[in-house]
Symmetry: C2
Subunit: 398 residues, 2 copies
């Protein structure tokens, strides 16, 4: 049995100084005095926030820790997809090794939960799924991980992929992924029936990449909502990632879609991409839509950006959505914590008695300042055990 | 007379290892061997790039180094302008002290040149101009600075401002500022005639904040081009900052405007703002428009963002413009160096024999990687003298 730990001198969400008693890896009480021979960790006046939630990653294919990749890839989506499939072999992008590296990187920044999409295609088969599963097991004490089987190269257009997706679900993937039902497979009904069919067979949720813009994306979204409703899939078991169509100029149409998403309990994920239309964050939240966020791919063959820091993501969300007030920056950070947790369907989350002691201590006078300064000096606990200090994970990876 | 300095083991722009001989503060030669009793600075294999150019700052009103400002300001532009004018007194935002702090911050990141807009209005008069001028003099060895007299609160709508702008030019401001001729002063002809009139009287250039979107902004831009042509103002002596209208949906109209800007030798400045339409960077450069960039306001009463790091700005430009290839990231960085220098009309700039030894040494295998990693470990020289190491200026400020 784990010894008790008392984390003293911390300010939950920037509030008054208190202490957090951790028993058996969970928050047992706030405001407990030292004594009774308990181990003490002095928070030294730091802010305490719940663990950061990386709700959309691609752990299997980051190049982080590998030699710099000089990107000369063409401009079309299919250029990037085809190039990546080829690079996995030519560069030796090992899913197990690379996912472990990104786990260490992002836990170093304060992450305690990850949802990762993992490629399933006719070249890598389910080997990337197996690699990331090995990482999940190796780091089970450091991070909770959900794995989405992701048909990056298309589901129907490359025969054999659907069978591999089925195999990935048999292996234990947590959700069925999908991508651009109109523009990728050019058969929205076929694509979505396949995705939802798999989900029904395995009793899992879905998480669909929807980059399609404007009215085309809205059509695909409508088809997703229709299926979620018909199948009675509620409570964020259906997630639409990116959802660029919600950033379309026709705000009335976007509002109507967001009202439907909220009613159907379908969540969205947005990275706040600066170069694309994106869901309007405050409007989506006001409509009652659950919103999570994530890094998307970092330092991969698609592009060189990203570092797995969810505080930086909060800044990006703020910049993209023109958030300026402290209360608005707090909302952006909330998307990186509670929003992502809700999107992932996690009920066991938050700075509250009874919840796992998954938390991050940050320097700074208040939450908004901490987001803006993004100091490396962060202290991360997973179920009451230290996992990272000073921006670096306290465990090693290949 | 300054002693010679040989900076060894550096890779200019990521090229082959060489050395840079500095004599009397200028680059005298590349590839010179050690010896002759010269002082040596070992670059240890680092990249060398020309000094970063902060081509659009507001040094007089950052809150950097002051207590955290809890932002509760309203959503309209005028809310922010009115709030700021009031805060200058209530918070004690001293232009001299604050500008010095931002100088140290940004030089710490590798900046060697700054153009700053400085507020002129009926409440602060020209006191902010005087404060920033004192900072410019105090830090003349650390950074070259241009000062734009900036009518933030409007030029015509607040009587007395034009006379103060005249006084600022008499004090030695380097350019006449302006702001949103239609939407701020509601008299585009009157506003621009006043701005260009002052510029003619003092033989200086202009740098106009143009946030106006779409067709309204295009109209104002057209009026600016008309005046620049009529007055024979060439060679980037006219700058249009932000130029959001160039991001309008009508790409053909934007292309026509950019062709006119290029022909008239009018430069633009873009920060790559994620929440607004922005000039399309690659299209603007391809059209022959000179483009600089800058931090705009950092950590002020307008908003909490920004840190004065031009490498981060290169990343923002890349994200906003969907730049992914190494060559595209190099273009983004070029906007932060040569682009800004050209926008500011600096001929004495660049990593070339005869130019001042204003340069930054960066760790990393190549330029694109250095932009993405943005390590604190940077070494900055101004006219051959070290001004910053490890992310911090080597001089002190209040």
């Amino acid at each position: 049995m784990m010894a008790d730990l008392l984390i003293t001198n911390v300010r939950p969400h920037g509030g008054a100084l208190t202490s957090i008693l951790v028993q058996s890896g969970r928050i047992a009480a706030f405001g407990v005095a030292e004594g009774q021979g308990r181990a003490v960790f002095d928070g030294a006046g730091r802010l305490a926030i719940p663990g950061l939630v990386e709700a959309h990653a691609h752990l299997d294919k980051t190049l982080y820790g590998m030699p710099w990749y000089v990107n000369t890839v063409g401009p079309r989506l299919i250029d990037k997809i085809d190039n990546e499939r080829a690079c996995k072999r030519s560069l030796g992008i090992d899913a197990q090794r690379q996912s472990a590296r990104q786990v260490a990187l992002t836990v170093g920044h304060g992450t305690t939960h990850i949802r990762t999409h993992v490629d399933v295609d006719t070249e890598c088969g389910v080997s990337s799924i197996e690699g990331v599963m090995a990482t999940r097991e190796a780091h089970a004490d450091h991070v909770d991980m959900q794995i989405v089987a992701f048909p990056q190269s298309g589901l129907l257009r490359r025969p054999g992929t659907l069978e591999l997706m089925d195999a990935a679900m048999r292996l234990g993937a947590d959700a069925v992924g999908g991508i651009d039902p109109c523009s990728m497979d050019r058969d929205p009904k076929g694509h979505l029936d396949a995705v939802f069919g798999l989900a029904q067979r395995y009793g899992k949720g879905v998480d669909i990449h929807l980059h399609e813009p404007g009215e085309m994306g809205a059509f695909s979204m409508d088809l997703i909502i229709e299926r979620a409703r018909a199948l009675g899939m509620r409570q964020q078991s259906v997630v639409i990632s990116h959802a660029f169509c919600l950033g379309m100029p026709d705000i009335a149409a976007a509002d109507a879609l967001m009202a439907e998403l909220a009613a159907a309990e379908i969540a969205i994920m947005t990275t706040g991409a600066p170069s694309r239309p994106v869901p309007p964050l405050q409007r989506a939240r006001a409509a009652g839509v659950v919103v999570g966020t994530g890094s998307d791919g970092i330092r991969d063959t698609w592009g060189p950006y990203g570092n797995g820091d969810l505080l930086e993501r909060a800044m990006f969300l703020g910049l993209r959505n023109n958030l300026r007030k402290d209360s608005e920056i707090e909302l952006a950070l909330d998307v990186c914590t509670h929003g992502g947790a809700a999107m992932m369907g996690l009920s066991d989350y938050g700075l509250a008695v009874g919840k796992p002691a998954d938390l991050v201590l940050l320097e700074g006078p208040c939450v908004a300042e901490a987001v803006m300064s993004r100091r490396a000096d962060r202290i991360t606990f997973k179920r009451g055990v230290l996992t990272a200090r000073a921006g670096a994970a306290l465990f090693s990876v290949p």
